[in-house]
Symmetry: C2
Subunit: 398 residues, 2 copies
């Protein structure tokens, strides 16, 4: 303790926060000699820097006073309207006042935790699921229940009456899931929304990667399917993967009574999302920029994914299995049962290779410790091949 | 309920959120014919648009990939160092790793609620206090206890053993308080930090307006005084009033063990604050821009405040009293005991004048309903005189 403090008392939730061993280990991934498959960072090559610069200039030159002033908690009206229109692409028909702009998807998760979770509330999650969502929700002390999954992702038949009874919501990433890279097929999507409608369990559809599809056929989102089936669907979207994550800009789509509550929560959380950022992003996307920009980004991710899959085919032993994503940023690896992902990480780091072990992604389920998540996005082809070769050798020696 | 939803269950905290009558009434203040003294908006004339535009251009041209990528949760290191150095002006000696960058001060309040408040935790507040802080803290269901105040603001002698026992923290705005405009004098500041050190109650010092002093002599902040006295002080600062609020940029200064927990909370709350914004603000302020910019802003606020005080002297009856702020944005008015601020508001709106009635600013105390908060910042001189004349007439008729 510093000399200038005295004892103080943290909340229960803050006391439960512990510094994770994995986070400590992964701090070394910042060293330049490390080949890191651990990150969740988009490729900077995909950032349209010039276009964004022009947009910031336009806004500051023409609408500077509005862009630098406090703005409405709901968000910049033209951007809300753009999002509503854009959602037609995933088969949803929503109105602009069903859209709330937030400071990145992570903030949406925090706000939804505030909205739905009391201590002990049942929350349904995929196992494994996105670690950042689990961190956000956990601050509100839910009781997680894992929905059964298989090699096709979430199994809708697993949503039994016992499983869904009293659940505040189910949290699902239908496209190129983090961490598995798996995509829910159309039949499962339909079965999922129908079961949730019948069981009256709201669905939180988190879709940060949907626009990063580089193989297969695009599928309708849970929002449109769910509304048709009478389910309550809350959809989260972000500009992090289509423009740039450093902007911290995302949105929530929900029925109006839910948006109304979320607006009150957002006001207490950060008043509103930066006006300048919202206006500059609107200027960037309003005339269809993403339809020309995204094919380039998709091609980049497809290549990177291909390099890693090729290297894995070459270097990983037959006792290892992994997903083959149709989009997104991650490959999920299942090791032989006797290999613990976090122990493998410790040895890999000695050889300057890093990844995220799979266990922390499991909530409400027995963690599968023989798993790991690999990101292929920001590493060069040569380093991907070198890093995967090292991992293959370590696995064979284990 | 829309056709595409079924019943769902909100958390206790969300159920307790009610749409305030005042907020509904104040929606009319957006009509152009309304003379609004209700806002808390800084004057757009004070926004350095050209300078900010140059900064955004510099960052995007020279450091675009970093500015658009995910960044560290703690914030942009050069900006943290700038804040630490800048705090010498208020008599505090802090290191950059005691600074955490946040997405506006409102987010700091949310994070401190998460850090310190369990349901039923005792929290000490001035009565009246900043409404936005009460909204943030309330989501975590504290029990508010009001510290006695008088015409000099918070009365340190009111911090008795009974008052401080078990309190998680005390929340104080020492400079040009919102809503009263009052400033704690040096003797009270010293007595406050000494009592809090002895009682082991952390102090949250919120100082959004400190740089807006246009009369009197600057006083050392609670951070420096408190550290010297052995108190735990957490200081909140913002760029909203010295640059522009639409950026949503602020910071928390605290002892390292508290920063460490807040970093974990920030990660779950929104990962980090926008990299581009942090870098552009750093470029704007790093070479002393604020020392030339702030005198112009202060002069503007001083003039505006003067117009309102003059008009009040002219039009308000002797039965009304009000504060004479040395800085900031607000004047606090105490009406004759029989006049209810919210009833006066209803009549004022019929004559196209708006303000915020005082009662909602009181937590943990019997609200003084015969009060109102006036902001003089964004209204023209002529409209200030016209609006105050109307209020004076209404008060005399009441």
């Amino acid at each position: 303790m510093d000399s200038y403090t005295h004892p103080y008392t943290f909340s229960q939730r803050a006391q439960q926060l512990t510094s994770s061993t994995i986070r400590e280990i992964l701090k070394v991934t910042e060293r330049p000699e490390i080949i890191s498959f651990a990150g969740g960072l988009p490729a900077p090559k995909g950032f349209p820097i010039d276009v964004m610069q022009a947009a910031f200039n336009y806004v500051l030159e023409n609408k500077g006073e509005t862009a630098l002033q406090y703005g409405p908690t709901e968000g910049y009206a033209p951007l809300r309207a753009w999002v509503a229109e854009d959602l037609k692409r995933v088969g949803a028909d929503v109105s602009p006042d069903e859209v709330l702009i937030v400071s990145g998807s992570q903030q949406a998760l925090d706000m939804l935790g505030k909205l739905f979770i009391d201590p002990g509330s049942k929350v349904l999650v995929e196992a494994p699921s996105y670690l950042g969502a689990l961190q956000s929700f956990s601050l509100f002390e839910p009781k997680y229940v894992a929905v059964p999954t298989d090699e096709g992702g979430l199994v809708p038949e697993g949503l039994t009456d016992e499983c869904t009874a009293g659940a505040r919501f189910i949290y699902v990433l239908p496209n190129f899931q983090n961490p598995t890279g798996l995509t829910l097929d159309l039949a499962r999507r339909k079965a999922l929304v129908e079961r949730c409608a019948a069981a009256q369990v709201p669905i939180i559809e988190d879709d940060p990667y949907g626009d990063l599809r580089y193989a297969g056929v695009a599928l309708p989102g849970l929002l449109g399917l769910g509304r048709a089936a009478g389910a309550t669907v809350i959809r989260l979207g972000t500009f992090s993967k289509v423009l740039a994550p450093g902007l911290r800009l995302g949105y929530i789509v929900a029925p109006k009574p839910i948006i109304a509550k979320l607006v009150q929560i957002k006001q207490a959380t950060d008043l509103h999302t930066a006006s300048l950022t919202q206006m500059a992003v609107y200027e960037t996307v309003k005339d269809g920029f993403l339809t020309t920009h995204m094919p380039m980004v998709r091609e980049l991710y497809k290549e990177q994914c291909g390099y890693m899959l090729e290297a894995m085919d070459q270097h990983f032993p037959a006792t290892v299995s992994w997903t083959r994503p149709e989009g997104g940023m991650f490959i999920w690896v299942t090791l032989p049962a006797h290999i613990d992902g976090s122990k493998l990480l410790a040895r890999a780091i000695e050889q300057n290779v890093a990844f995220v072990p799979g266990a922390p992604f499991f909530a409400g389920a027995h963690p599968q410790t023989n798993t790991m998540r690999l990101s292929f996005v920001t590493v060069s082809e040569a380093k991907i091949r070198e890093g995967i070769a090292i991992l293959g050798k370590l696995i064979k020696e284990s």
